[in-house]
């Protein structure tokens, strides 16, 4: 059977008033040659100027697949299924979530539903953050942290309304939660659209290209349930069996608190780079070609989540080293 082109899906998150609809309308007017379907929630802030706008109810369903429980967006499965039957081919789909939405069920939908995974692909999660209010929102709402934690791109918007020092502070806060996200400072969401669309951020080979800002793992916390990130590297090759045992058990037992995980691994006796990424308990992994000539074969892993300091992550990772 021939592989069919998958339609890219961009997810726009961000709190009410951050500027999601401004960005959406910019995409729709500036990319007018392309055919988009826009899936919006019914509490949208302003009108959206597009032929194909679908109202969604953000129905979060629990799915039970064997031993792994997770949540998916039931309405998205239904709507994407309907859109894929259209005779006119879509260039891309944009899903706008409500301000208080947790992005995990959206991302998990693309891992769990086979039809969705076959016909569409999650291109990127783009989070629009309000430079004026983000700090307060991060302290008050879990969802704000999750939206930053899941983001591939953060548009730090309304930077014209705050002092430069304040913008830098917010930027550091974002980096602490998510060292992978590309942060674009904007006013009126005026980011170049090629930095927002067509990123293919969830494909495994893209992980090889994104260099996270590696941080010290012992930064200070403001609350115990803050979302943070840790990263480790190892020049010593890892043992495949040891890693699988440790990582499998880790996701099974701590997957609720691990929002995202990504890594490139160097195993003894394996010539290819092994790349993985996970969303809570779900993960996707594959060998991704030989290591580049002349570059060091070092393993790197990054975790974004809550209570990471209680998971003995460093010890676990170190114990996977081959001796």
């Amino acid at each position: 059977m021939t592989e069919e082109a998958q339609v890219p899906v961009t997810v726009l998150t961000g709190f009410l008033g951050a500027g999601k609809t401004t960005l959406l309308n910019r995409i729709l007017t500036e990319e007018h040659g392309r055919r988009f379907a826009v899936i919006v929630n019914e509490f949208g802030e302003e009108g959206i100027d597009n032929d194909l706008v679908v109202d969604a109810d953000e129905e979060v369903f629990e799915m039970n697949n064997g031993c792994i429980c997770c949540t998916v967006r039931g309405d998205l499965i239904r709507i994407l299924g309907g859109l894929m039957k259209r005779a006119d081919q879509l260039d891309a789909i944009i899903v706008e979530t409500t301000g208080l939405a947790d992005p995990a069920p959206v991302a998990q939908t693309f891992f769990v539903d086979q039809d969705v995974a076959d016909k569409t692909k999650l291109d990127a999660i783009v989070t629009v953050a309000d430079a004026v209010h983000l700090s307060d929102q991060l302290g008050e709402h879990h969802e704000a942290e999750e939206q930053i934690a899941f983001a591939d791109v953060v548009l730090l918007n309304k930077t014209d309304l705050v002092e430069a020092s304040e913008t830098n502070e917010v930027e550091n806060r974002i980096k602490k939660i998510n060292p992978f996200a590309k942060i674009i400072k904007t006013t009126h969401c005026s980011a170049p659209l090629h930095e927002v669309l067509g990123l293919d951020a969830f494909s495994l080979d893209r992980i090889l290209e994104v260099e996270p800002d590696f941080l010290d793992s012992d930064h200070d916390h403001e609350h115990d349930d803050d979302v943070t990130s840790v990263s480790f590297t190892s020049e010593t090759p890892l043992d495949l069996d040891k890693f699988q045992n440790w990582f499998g058990e880790l996701l099974r037992t701590q997957g609720q608190d691990i929002l995202r995980s990504k890594g490139i691994l160097n195993f003894t006796g394996v010539d290819e780079r092994y790349v993985f990424q996970g969303v809570h308990m779900l993960m996707d992994a594959s060998p991704m070609g030989l290591w580049p000539e002349g570059k060091s074969r070092s393993s790197r892993v990054v975790f974004i989540g809550r209570n990471l300091e209680n998971m003995n992550l460093l010890e676990g990772f170190e114990s996977c080293k081959a001796h």
């Binding site: 369903f61 629990e62 799915m63 309907g82 039957k85 005779a87």
Partner: protein, 351 residues
């Protein structure tokens, strides 16, 4: 009724059913429409087919097919109705379309999709969002029946009195008592999509978001779990006789027996029509017989009898696009087969 299909076609069986053009393809109408085929239903001697361009096309023996431009977007659901079909679309319209091309708009929803439709001799029904809407013959205004989540499936029983509605967390059965619709809830965790009554009305079965079917015995709401599928079940149909519920979602057509008081409880299904480990994506029964057609992900179609686990008859060779719709015309004279890329076959079954 005993069909002559088996005898007529067994002689044409080839060693590579996927690769070679079948006799049915040679004598039939093969068209590449490039428009995804969504669904097909039998309307007496003809077949109505819904497409991803919003049109319904009627295929009749010996005549050119006719096209009715019905919806602006995709036709999401279609069911046979007296002399035609009822359709629901992503343009929010619920339509009645007859074979002569007449289109009547029964209802228009503002911006919501019409996801599911159902028809019986007493009622017409559709769903949009969390609500089902039921029209009887006398009333122009529908009765609105509300549910806890978006509706995944609608079906009337064979007598046309009870309406089954599938949704998140189970299903609801509605029946009219003294001018009021009364509901009875069937509970099972998870999201439930297409729904069907067994021909005798004693069981209700849903296809779930998980790779499983779920059933209830209506009398006591006893649960029937039918799982173990490698893929989501997108298609099912009732094979007459026992009867069997034939389902897609596995590498064979999986047929569950629904005879006796217990139906498939504690019993194994019969599996027929195996095809090089390809996944079955669409099934349809041959009316009046214990035979069925299994459409595969590679576009091939086989016929098989439930009582014969070995013999298969090639109907269509692989096209590379999954089978999305099949229907057999009355008296089993013709079959329509369509796939996700819009390749269609309309051909005589008997020689």
């Amino acid at each position: 009724m005993q069909s002559t299909l088996s005898l007529d076609l067994h002689s044409q069986m080839s060693a590579f059913p996927n690769a070679q053009i079948t006799e049915l393809e040679k004598r039939g109408l093969n068209i590449q429409t490039d428009i995804p085929v969504v669904d097909a239903v039998t309307i007496t001697e003809s077949v109505a087919v819904s497409f991803g361009d919003g049109a319904v096309r009627f295929f009749r023996p010996g005549l050119a097919y006719t096209t009715v431009e019905a919806h602006k977007g995709v036709i999401l659901s279609m069911v046979a109705d007296t002399g035609g079909v009822l359709t629901g679309g992503d343009d929010g319209r619920f339509l009645r379309i007859t074979q002569d091309g007449a289109t009547e708009e029964i209802y228009k929803f503002d911006s919501k999709w019409v996801d599911c439709v159902a028809s019986s001799k007493n009622y017409s029904a559709c769903s949009s969002g969390n609500s089902a809407y039921v029209w009887d013959e006398l009333h122009l205004r529908p009765t609105r029946l509300e549910h806890p989540s978006t509706i995944g499936g609608l079906a009337f029983d064979a007598k046309g009195r009870r309406l089954a509605v599938a949704h998140y967390g189970g299903a609801t059965i509605w029946e009219k008592h003294k001018n009021r619709w009364k509901s009875s809830r069937l509970v099972w965790n998870g999201s439930h999509n297409q729904i069907t009554f067994s021909p005798d009305g004693k069981f209700i079965v849903t296809a779930m978001q998980e790779n499983a079917l779920h059933g209830w015995r209506v009398r006591d709401k006893a649960n029937l779990a039918m799982s173990g599928y490698p893929a989501k079940i997108k298609s099912f149909d009732w094979v007459e006789g026992t009867p069997f519920l034939v389902t897609s979602g596995a590498h064979e057509a999986v047929c569950w027996p629904f005879d006796g008081k217990f139906g498939p409880m504690e019993r194994k299904p019969v599996c027929v029509a195996s095809n090089n480990n390809e996944l079955v994506t669409c099934v349809t029964a041959l009316p009046g017989d214990d035979a069925l057609f299994a459409g595969f992900r590679d576009g091939s179609v086989l016929a098989a009898e439930v009582s014969d686990s070995k013999g298969v008859i090639p109907i269509r060779k692989a096209t590379g696009s999954e089978i999305t719709a099949m229907a057999v015309s009355a008296c089993n004279t013709h079959i329509f087969i369509g796939d996700a890329k819009g390749n269609i076959l309309w051909t005589r079954l008997v020689g």
